[in-house]
């Protein structure tokens, strides 16, 4: 039997990988996305500032600058096509010292050079009108009305769902353990990519593996790259604090990044962070006392009286930083058909629509595929009940009464939305999967009330998962360990029950 040969295989289902996959699906070919985790958007894409940057930060002439500006310009249309949360609220870079005004001016000029429109510097008086809670030290700010905020989960889900609807395959829990070129007699060589879920053959491999992109690249190329996980810690405040600022408020950037920002989120919360710490551990998403203290201290430089008592959670994410601080996008010289999409740190989310296009262009330069005539560019989003008009909600309930059964009271998410999330392709199979697709569990009770009910719905919707095996985020993260009294009355077949059994013998 002939082995399946993919035209292109993408490693990584973050926002870059899914954007690339969606662009691939415009072509008439066979495509596969391999993801190490249990769901899309499980690495760098899931824990970041969720900002769509205007594009004045990156050095003029870099790929970062070009793709940021192009990507950001694509967001309004893309958010309509794919129905994900995006709002152009504008951003302010706040200068808190007269001496730094030249730096603010330089940022404005760099923005102009990068092709960012409508930038201007606002003085203190106007700034205070725009942001009543701005720090007393603020003297001026760079106003960028094209900046926005988005829901990175929904964006990534939407890209993946649309790619899947147009024929792209996804495999999860499939970390790549090997990649090599297999020569064939009389035919072009193929890439052979090994995972615990099997070995896959493809003409082209795209490396969108986030913080692990260096490992994959270095498997196939003699010219090494290196990715450093740069941790960013955040505090997320309740929606009661969501209007403390109205725009994304940055401090003047430093060499470690854009500093600590204060921003409303698409869900109406207030987000404060991140730190920037280079760490050795690619799974090191811990929060630390020093990190969170730094977030509080630095945010106070630009915004006063942030009500941190309204904090509902803190979290951290890892940026895929590479020493050159530039996106590495292109075919690897000594590995024909292996295309890097590495070092995608900020403004990677903003650039993602443009990254998808660029990689697809490069790959189709190799493959020469014709267009997918059946491509459908639109995707229907999961309805959001938070700000819905009552009549529209009534219509939804008439179609499906489960829209009237609220499961997550804090974020107003109904049973119907949770079932919808599970039925999507690729769909939710874990609590985090439901959370990311519906916004459930993100509120002030932090899943205290809705967890058991969502576990039930997942077990009802996903045939392979029973209630006791529902996970938070894939293998190894079971929510419960088994039934009550296991190991008390009878010997159990689970090895970690032995202790309980002995104690009660």
């Amino acid at each position: 039997m002939a082995e399946t040969v993919y035209d292109a295989l993408v490693v990584g289902a973050g926002v870059s990988g899914c954007s690339i996959a969606r662009e691939f699906s415009r072509l008439d070919g066979r495509f596969l996305v391999l993801e190490a985790e249990d769901d899309v958007c499980s690495g760098t894409s899931k824990a970041n500032s969720a900002i769509v940057h205007a594009g004045f930060d990156a050095q003029t002439g870099t790929l970062m600058a070009r793709l940021n500006v192009e990507g950001t310009s694509l967001f309004p249309e893309l958010s309509r096509e794919l129905e994900f949360g995006f709002r152009q609220i504008g951003s302010l870079v706040v200068c808190t010292n007269e001496a730094d005004l030249p730096a603010l001016q330089a940022l404005l000029e760099r923005g102009h050079a990068n092709g960012v429109h409508d930038l201007r510097i606002v003085g203190r008086e106007e700034l205070v009108r725009m942001e009543p809670n701005i720090s007393d030290a603020a003297v001026a700010a760079l106003w960028a009305p094209t900046a926005g905020i988005c829901d990175p989960f929904e964006l990534t889900d939407a890209l993946a769902e649309n790619a899947a609807a147009n024929g792209v395959e996804f495999r999860f829990d499939a970390p790549v353990t090997g990649a090599r070129r297999r020569k064939r007699d009389g035919e072009p060589a193929l890439w052979e990519v090994t995972t615990p879920k099997g070995t896959f053959l493809s003409h082209v491999v795209v490396n969108a593996a986030g913080v692990h992109a260096d490992e994959l690249h270095n498997m196939v190329s003699a010219s090494r790259i290196s990715i450093t996980p740069r941790r960013g810690q955040y505090e997320l405040l309740d929606t009661t604090a969501g209007d403390h600022v109205r725009h994304t408020v940055f401090m003047l950037p430093t060499k470690m990044g854009k500093g600590v920002l204060v921003t409303p989120t698409i869900h109406g919360n207030l987000l404060v962070g991140p730190t920037a710490e280079d760490i050795p551990d690619k799974s090191g998403t811990q929060t630390t006392p020093d990190g969170l203290a730094e977030v509080r201290r630095k945010s106070a430089l630009t915004v006063r009286d942030i009500p941190f008592r309204e904090t509902i959670t803190s979290f951290s994410g890892l940026r895929a930083h590479q020493p050159g601080q530039e996106f590495i996008i292109g075919e690897v010289e000594d590995a024909p058909g292996f295309v890097d999409c590495a070092g995608i740190e900020s403004p990677g989310l903003s650039a993602s629509p443009a990254i998808g296009r660029m990689v697809a262009r490069i790959v189709n330069g190799i493959l020469g595929l014709s267009p997918n005539e059946g491509f459908v560019p639109t995707r229907r989003g999961i309805p959001n009940l938070r700000d819905i008009d009552p009549e529209d909600w009534q219509r939804l309930i008439q179609e499906d009464p489960a829209y009237g059964t609220i499961v997550c009271r804090c974020c107003r998410v109904s049973e119907a939305q949770i079932r919808d999330a599970c039925r999507r392709v690729p769909g939710a199979r874990s609590l985090d999967g439901v959370k990311h697709r519906t916004g459930a569990c993100m509120g002030r009770c932090q899943a205290g009330f809705c967890t058991p009910r969502i576990m039930e719905i997942i077990s009802e919707e996903v045939a392979s998962i029973d209630l006791a095996h529902v996970t938070k985020s894939g293998p190894g993260s079971r929510m419960v360990v088994g039934p009550d009294k296991q190991g008390l009355a009878t010997a159990s077949d689970e090895k970690d029950d032995s202790r309980g059994g002995e104690r009660n013998a």
């Binding site: 009770c445 006791a468 985020s473 993260s477 360990v481 008390l488």
Partner: protein, 432 residues
């Protein structure tokens, strides 16, 4: 295709938001006070609220002079409501309460609908303080639960959240769950409490920890959580008098589960929408002696008003709110009603954190009312004193007062006789 999406509007005299212990007692009492049109809205598929998952005993000692389990206690009120044929709607979530007392709700059965009410009783209860509010550092794996979520999983779903457990916070649910998890086959390594005293009832410390040999570490907190997918260990450290961890005192506990029992927060999001003034100390409404909030016709009772320790007192307080709501509706019909102008504030001082009610109407109050309050620290051999103006009308010695145990005293109308318009009522602790 559905052609219309009309929103139905109902009319009721009293809408009770929440069908737990508070809502049920309020509805029954409103009916008994003569109000025929009472509607209870409950979001869960059954009445009884959180009592349904509280399968331990100890409920009803005051109300029934019996020791009942939570579901048994709830069943008494549910059957009383049934006998009186009190209308209720299940699986119904209230979305909004407007200040004109229009309640908007949603259910699968009725869709989005509105109820025009003459009075509303807030009985939504409380929620548990989640991890995020504590800024516990480390990873965010599976296996961190609030005690109440774990209680629901164990007692309703029959599922064990973990086998090796550390509990942070000595609130009553945490203490109860230490015992429950032990009985169900888990090992509870310890209960760590940030404060130098427990937030739970003395009887729970004895019956749930001491009897099972579970150590209670006072002045300790969790400073780190380990594990990428599932909890693998937590680190506990001692804290100083400013509640800051003391370096060098860290002890690592390998475990698969961290339970949090670090406080309960009244769920007043709807109250705020209605414009109800909230007391920052209780996080519940400011109410007068009829348990009416700052919005005329809106009453509050139970854990949404202030967090209680014993359900018996929730029922008692809520019965008062229900009767007051019924009287309010009756007076509305008669064109009468009490003015807000004669309200006298109850000021608290000297270690007392709050009083419910926060205002008393000397002219309109019942013959006697109950003032409920908590202290802010542990006190021994103090007097609870009540002053009306300069006059000390009550002076009671208490051997021990602890933040975890709600206190109460009875205020009689006659004690307010002769109160001057400028006078305050003051509630405080005195050494003699």
């Amino acid at each position: 295709m559905p052609s219309t999406a009309t929103i139905q509007t109902l009319e009721r005299d009293i809408v009770v938001v929440g069908g737990g212990s508070a809502g049920l007692a309020a509805a029954i009492s409103a009916r008994d006070a003569g109000c025929e049109s009472v509607l209870v809205l409950e979001r869960e598929p059954q009445l009884g609220g959180i009592l349904n998952q509280c399968i331990h005993n100890g409920f009803g000692l005051h109300a029934f002079k019996e020791e009942l389990t939570g579901p048994e206690y709830a069943a008494r009120y549910i059957s009383q409501a049934r006998e009186r044929q009190i209308e209720h709607m299940l699986r119904t979530t209230v979305l909004d309460i407007a200040d004109d007392l229009t309640v908007t709700a949603v259910s699968a059965e009725r869709g989005v609908f509105r109820i025009r009410a003459k009075a509303v009783v807030l009985a939504m209860g409380c929620r548990e303080c989640p991890r995020g509010a504590l800024d516990i550092c480390g990873t965010r794996p599976a296996g961190v639960y609030t005690a109440g979520t774990a209680q629901r999983l164990v007692n309703i779903d029959g599922l064990m959240p973990g086998r090796e457990v550390v509990i942070l916070g000595s609130g009553d649910i945490g203490l109860i769950m230490a015992r429950r998890l032990t009985l169900e086959g888990a090992h509870v390594a310890c209960v760590a409490e940030l404060m130098p005293y427990s937030g739970g009832l003395k009887r729970n410390i004895v019956q749930c920890l001491d009897d099972f040999g579970i150590p209670l570490l006072l002045s300790h907190t969790v400073v780190n959580v380990e594990g990428t997918k599932r909890v693998e260990a937590v680190t506990i450290a001692q804290v100083d008098e400013h509640l800051k961890p003391i370096p060098g005192t860290e002890v690592r506990y390998p475990c698969d589960t961290l339970l949090l029992s670090v406080g309960l927060l009244p769920e007043n999001e709807l109250s705020r929408q209605a414009g109800v003034r909230i007391n920052p100390i209780t996080r519940g409404a400011f109410v007068d002696d009829s348990l009416m909030t700052s919005v005329p016709g809106v009453f509050a009772c139970g854990n949404v008003l202030h967090v209680h320790d014993l359900v018996d007192y929730v029922s008692e307080e809520s019965a008062h709110a229900g009767a007051s709501a019924a009287r309010y509706v009756r007076q509305l019909a008669e064109g009468a009603g009490r003015g807000a102008s004669d309200l006298v504030p109850v000021r608290v001082a000297g270690g007392i954190r709050y009083s419910v009610p926060a205002f008393v109407s000397p002219a309109n109050m019942d013959e006697k009312i109950t003032l409920r309050f908590r202290v802010g620290a542990v006190y021994q051999n103090r007097y609870v004193s009540l002053y009306v103006g300069d006059r000390r009308v009550q002076h009671r010695r208490k051997q021990i007062l602890a933040p975890g145990e709600m206190q109460e005293l009875t205020l009689r109308r006659e004690e307010l006789a002769g109160i001057a318009p400028a006078d305050e009522i003051r509630l405080l602790l005195e050494e003699e």
